[in-house]
């Protein structure tokens, strides 16, 4: 590959004398093991998704995706992501502003709390809402009395999705805004801008690529979440089935083409996410917090 990026690394490589790198054969062996491992564990699962989806031809594939239940699952997944991602974007920006721009007591503790959903099993993330809103739940009676349906309905699915995708935007923006400091904002304010103008014209342009990066990861998880959503959804076909849940139902019915057809859309989403993520890292690496090993 005639990539200028790779060329520029060449001197670094040449300058390594034999004593500080492995011998050529050892390098070849290590690389072969690493590639074999990645091929078996990452590449094959990806290939088999598309292979199985198209196992009975393109006709069967498009037909599987045209099924009303598949279509409603796609619609619900898009709806859930369209609600939960913006919610977490607003939270992420707000939390990053408070944490990065100000010094206050308990800041480290708050940052730890934001990461909490990452260390909770997805099943437990769903369970907590069942305990809260379920028939035997704390608010179950009250909700029933008022005819409000949260569990086994769209609100419950959105809540569970918001829970598992909660930290994505915040944890990208907080270190980024901390690194950028307050200088730009203070300059804008001293020149007469109000708080909102400062945020809109100074802070937001400074963090836009980091924000996009966080949104990308948040969205991928929101559309792909399985465990948490599975617990709260009730698996009602055509009503509360998201795409990952629909994949499970079809698979358990031995409808391999149907299951892998829907799965291929999710795999496509994962690939698009990875490509965009890599492009962002290559082009705007200096403006992202995630690429600096925070």
């Amino acid at each position: 590959m005639a990539d200028p990026e790779i060329k520029s690394y060449e001197p670094y490589h040449e300058s390594r004398s034999a004593a500080v790198t492995e011998s050529r054969p050892a390098q070849a062996v290590l690389m072969a093991i690493a590639f074999a491992f990645l091929g078996i564990f990452l590449l094959l699962p990806l290939i088999i998704v598309f292979h199985e989806a198209l196992a009975k031809g393109v006709g069967a594939y498009t037909q599987a995706l045209g099924e009303p239940d598949a279509r409603s699952a796609i619609r619900l997944t898009l709806l859930v992501a369209a609600i939960s991602v913006p919610l977490n974007v607003v939270f992420g920006i707000s939390a990053a502003w408070a944490i990065a721009k100000f010094e206050f007591k308990g800041k480290a503790f708050l940052t730890t709390l934001i990461d909490l959903p990452f260390s909770v099993s997805p099943v437990i993330s769903g369970l907590v809402y069942v305990l809260l809103f379920g028939a035997q739940g704390l608010l179950g009676e009250w909700l029933k009395g008022h005819g409000i349906q949260i569990l086994f309905a769209v609100p419950g699915i959105v809540l569970a999705t918001v829970f598992v995708t909660f930290p994505f935007v915040a944890r990208e923006l907080i270190p980024l805004m901390q690194e950028q400091g307050n200088g730009d904002e203070e300059a804008a304010l001293s020149l007469g801008a109000n708080g909102w103008q400062t945020f809109w014209y100074v802070t937001l342009p400074n963090v836009k690529w980091g924000l996009l990066y966080g949104v990308l990861l948040c969205n991928a998880r929101a559309m792909g979440e399985f465990g948490a959503v599975s617990v709260v959804s009730g698996h009602i076909r055509g009503l509360t089935n998201t795409m990952p849940l629909h994949v499970e139902i079809l698979y358990n019915e031995y409808n391999a083409v149907g299951a892998f057809a829907v799965a291929s859309l999710l795999a496509g989403l994962a690939l698009v996410t990875l490509v965009l993520k890599t492009l962002l890292e290559m082009r705007y690496g200096a403006e992202l917090a995630a690429t600096r090993g925070h």
Partner: protein, 283 residues
């Protein structure tokens, strides 16, 4: 040690000309409380309401113990596998130059991006007795799908990026001079790796291990398809929670969740301690 000026006293927030502190902190706290803290404390409250005897009975039930043992055992093995191969992959990505390195590097994040249910059915299809890999392992007497070995495979897939992404940045920061100095002093390549490079990488490897382990313990979507889900044999703890919920046995589901949560919290604490320790020791 410097002492704070006495007149400053205790202050919640340092003064700042930047506006919006009350609004953004207030909103963040309200949102955090509503979405995360109240639901989680509901879980703790419900399990506390169980009483010690009931809680202990559920916790020491053989099916619960087996499920926890399988979850933690397979997650541990998978994390060990990932430490070995994840470190190797990071090494190859950082040290060697080859065509398509960027693509390989990007692919490492696939388990982060691929929905777990998709990974689950893909791995099951590969490792089933008639699958591409399962077919090759069958003559060797190795059954992967529908056994605990299948759980390990799924967790290796899920945990790999945690190790690579934790170790990789630290590897990139290693000074070439350190290796050169060791070489000048007569160290062999093997000695340089084990005595010079490895100690610097160890904290990152431990952190990567803990992250992969923690994620593996709670993992559900990718595992349930390949595990076979036989009670006492290949049933993971998150699945047992779901089963108890479907039986409307809320107390049991709550208790198992509380145990898992407590154990994950301990692990999170350990990760943080390791990180602080490594930052202190290796700056």
């Amino acid at each position: 040690m410097t002492t704070a000026p006495a007149q400053a006293g205790w202050r919640f927030k340092q003064p700042s000309v930047i506006p919006g502190f009350g609004l953004t902190l207030g909103f963040s706290l309200a949102y955090l409380t509503l979405i995360i803290l109240i639901p989680l404390s509901g879980l703790i409250w419900r399990s506390a309401a169980l009483g010690w005897t009931d809680f202990w009975a559920i916790a020491t039930d053989r099916r619960t113990l087996n499920a926890l043992e399988i979850s933690f055992g397979t997650a541990f093995i998978a994390a060990v596998v990932n430490v070995v191969f994840g470190t190797l992959v990071a090494w190859v990505l950082v040290r060697y130059r080859f065509p398509g390195r960027r693509i390989v590097d990007a692919m490492v994040d696939l388990p982060f991006a691929l929905p777990t249910a998709v990974a689950g059915i893909a791995l099951t299809t590969l490792y089933a007795p008639n699958g591409w890999i399962g077919k090759l392992l069958m003559p060797l007497g190795l059954k992967v799908a529908y056994t605990p070995l299948g759980i390990v495979i799924a967790l290796v897939f899920i945990g790999l990026p945690f190790v690579v992404r934790t170790v990789q940045p630290i590897m990139e920061e290693i000074d070439k001079e350190v290796e050169e100095a060791a070489a000048t002093l007569g160290a062999s390549r093997f000695q340089i790796i084990t005595r010079v490079l490895f100690p610097g990488l160890a904290p990152a490897i431990i952190t990567g291990f803990s992250l992969a382990f923690a994620r593996g313990v709670g993992e559900y979507g990718s595992v349930i398809f390949i595990a076979g889900n036989l009670p006492y044999k290949s049933e993971i703890a998150p699945l047992l929670i779901v089963i108890r919920l479907e039986e409307y046995n809320y107390p049991a589901a709550t208790a198992i969740a509380a145990i898992m949560l407590a154990l994950s919290f301990v692990m999170l604490l350990v990760v943080n301690l390791v990180q602080t320790w490594s930052r202190k020791r290796y700056g």
